[in-house]
Amino acid sequence: MSKLRISVSPHIHSPITTQRIMLDVIIALIPTLIAGTVIFGLRALAVVAVCVAFSVLSEFIFNKICKKELTINDLSAVVTGLLLGLGLPANVPLWQAAVGAVFAIVVVKCLFGGIGQNFANPAITGRVFMIITFGSLANAAYPTVVDTASGATPLVTLSEGGSVEITDLILGLRGGAIGETCTIALIIGGIYLVARKVIVPHTPVTFIATVFILSFAVTLDAYTALCYTLSGGLFISAIFMATDYSTTPLTKWGKVIFGVGAGALTVLIRFWGVYPEGISFAILLMNILSPYIDKWTAKKPFGGVAK
C-alpha cells in the first residue's frame, strides 16, 4: 500500500474558494458593465478593459519580479480592475486608466503584501490617485457623456439648487462614472452577492440609509434627499467598495459602524467639502479606522470573558 497521507483535521473543506468568491463579484458586476456600455457607449467598455488588463498584467509581473507565487488565478486583480474602470468616466484617456490600474495593484495591493493585506481599497485609492495626479480628472470624473439634457452631473445640479428626474437616476441616464449611474443594475448585483452569501447587507444598507437620512436632515426635503442618495457613486461604493473584505471590519456590528460612518462622512464632504463627491474619501477614511473598529467590536468568546 502506498503511503497514507497525514494531516491535521478537518479533512473536508467547503467548496467556497477565494476564486469562487471573486468570480461571484465579477458576475455581480456584469449588469452594471452592460448598463455602463449601453449608456456611455463602447468607449466605456474600452476603459474597463484597459483597467482589467493592466491590473492583471501588473500583478502578474509583480509576482514574477518578486519571485512570488502567481496570484492572478484568484481573480481578485480582475475585480480591482473592474471596480477601478467602472469608477472612471468613459472619456478618460486610456493611458491614464492604465496608470491608475498599475498604481492600484502595485502600490496599494502588492506592496502591502497582496490580497487581504492591504488596508486601503485599491480601486478607490487608484481613482483618488488619478484625481490628484491628473488634475483634470477632478472635473472629468463627473462629466456628461451621453446624458439626456443637462451638461452637469446631478450632484452639481443639485448643489446649485437645480432639480433632477428620479427615473433618470434609477436607470442611470445621467452624467457620472461608467458604473455608478445605473442604480438598478447595481442593486441587482448587490442582491446576487447577498444571495450567494458573498456579502452581508449590513454595510450597504446602513451606508445608503445614513446618506438618505442625513441628506434629509440637511435639505428637509425627501425628494431632494432621495436625489442625493441616488446620485454620485453611492450605490457602487456602498455595495462593492464598502464590502471589500480586506479593508472593512470583520464583525457585523463593525460593518454597521463602517456603513454609518462612511455615510456620515459622505454627506459631510458633499455639503461642506470642496469636492462635489466625497465618497472615495469617506471610504478611505473608514478603511483606516477599520482595524480599530474590529478591535472595539470583537466578539466575546463563549463562556470566557477576555481577561
Binding site: L4, S7, H11, I12, T71, S246, K299, P301, G304, A306
Partner: protein, 441 residues
Amino acid sequence: MSFYLHGVHLPHRKKTSDMEPVRMSAPQKIVLPMSMHIGAPAVPCVKAGDHVDIGTLVGSQSGYVSSPIYSSVSGTVKKIDDILLSSGKPCPAVIVESDGLMTFDQNIAPPEMNGYEDLIAAVKASGVVGLGGAGFPTHVKLDVKDISKIQELIINGAECEPYITSDTRTMIDKAHEIENAISIFEKFLGVKKTIIGIEENKKKAIAKMREIAQRNPRVEVKVLPGVYPQGGEKVLVYHTTGKVIPAGKLPLDVGCIVCNCTTMAAISNFIKTGIPLVNKCVTVDGSAVKEPKNVIVPIGTPISDVFEFCGGFSEEPQKVLYGGPMMGISVPDTSLPVLKNTNALLAFGEKEAKRPQSTQCIHCGLCVSHCPVSLSPVGIAKAYKSGNAEALAKLRVDICMECGCCSYVCPAKRPLVETNKMSKTLLREYMDAQKAKEGAK
C-alpha cells in the same frame, strides 16, 4: 443572556444509518495499546505465552486517571511490544494471537451494586472511557464525591460528524441498555433529571429515545439543530439546559454530567453481564470503501482487517481516519488497531484525500462568524505569527474545541485548526514560564 451558537452545515453522508451493525468474525490477532484513553497508560499484567479469554485483564489501571484493558479474543499472548500510535508516540501494546474460539473468561460475573462506591468501582472495572471520541475515563467523570451537585445528566446523542452513525445505531439498537443505565444513574448518582440531546436529522433515534421518556417522566429528549457541531460539551450543555460553562470550567461546575450514549450502553452492559468493554460498533465508510457498513469489532483488531471485512477498497486509499472528517485523526498505516474510542474508520481516495492548497487570508471574516464559541481564528493566526502569547491569552485560544468549522469555511483554505493547536502549545508554555517566574519571586 442568550447566544446563537454558530457552526456549519455539513453534508451528512450518513448512508450507514439504516444499516444494522454486523458482527465481525474473530480476527487472527489483536493489538491492544496500553494507552487508549486520556491519562496514565495501563500496565501490561500478562506475559508472552499466557492464555487469555475474552474479558481477561491484560493491562491494569495505573493511577486514578487511567483505565484497565481487557482482551477481546481468546488465544495466546504473543508478545508485548512498543508500537507507534497515530500521534507518532511509542506505546507498549499487548499482542494476542487468537485461537478463533472466542471463549469468555470464567471469572466474568456481574458486579454487586449496593451504592455510589459500587457504581464508581464498576465503571472503573468496566474499562469504559468516553466513547464519543474523547476517551476520558468515565469513572473519573462520575466520581463527583458530592452527588448533590448533580442537577442534570445529559446524554450525548449528537453525532454531528458526517458519515458516522455508530451512536445513532446504539440509540436505535440498544435503547434498552441506555434506559437501564439511566435508572442505574438515578439510583446511585441521585440523578433527578436526564436530557438526551439528539440532532433533528436522526428521526429513528429520536423516536426510540422518546419511548424511554414516555416510560420515565424524569427523562426528556431534546431535539438539537442539524448544525455542526452539537456534540462539543459546551455546545451540548448550552443547547440542552441553557447553561453556559465558563471557560476553563467543567460541566459539573454548572451541575451537569455529560455522557455519550454509547458510553451509557456499555456501562449498562457491564453491570448486567460483567463483560467489560471489548467490542466497539464502528462505522466503516468513505469513498475508497467498497461496502460501507456498521461493524461490531473486537477492540484491538487491525484496521486493515475491518476494511477487508467491508469488501476491501474500491480504489487505493490515500487517507484513512480514526473518526469523522471534521475532527478525526489521520492514521499513518492500517496495521494500527481499532481503539476503545474509535467510532468510525473512514478511507478516502485521491480526490477527497487531497488537501486544497492554502492561499493568503482574504480577511473575509467567515472563520469568525462560523466559530461556535465566538473566537477569532484569523486574529489568533495573526497573534501566533508574531509570537504574541499575551494576545493569544486575550483571544482565548484555550477554549477552542478544535471542531474544524473555521478551517472548513475558510475560502483561502488556511490551516486554522493547526495554527490553533500550535497557539495553544505556545500559550501553555508561556503560562508555565510565567508561573515559574512568579514562583521564583
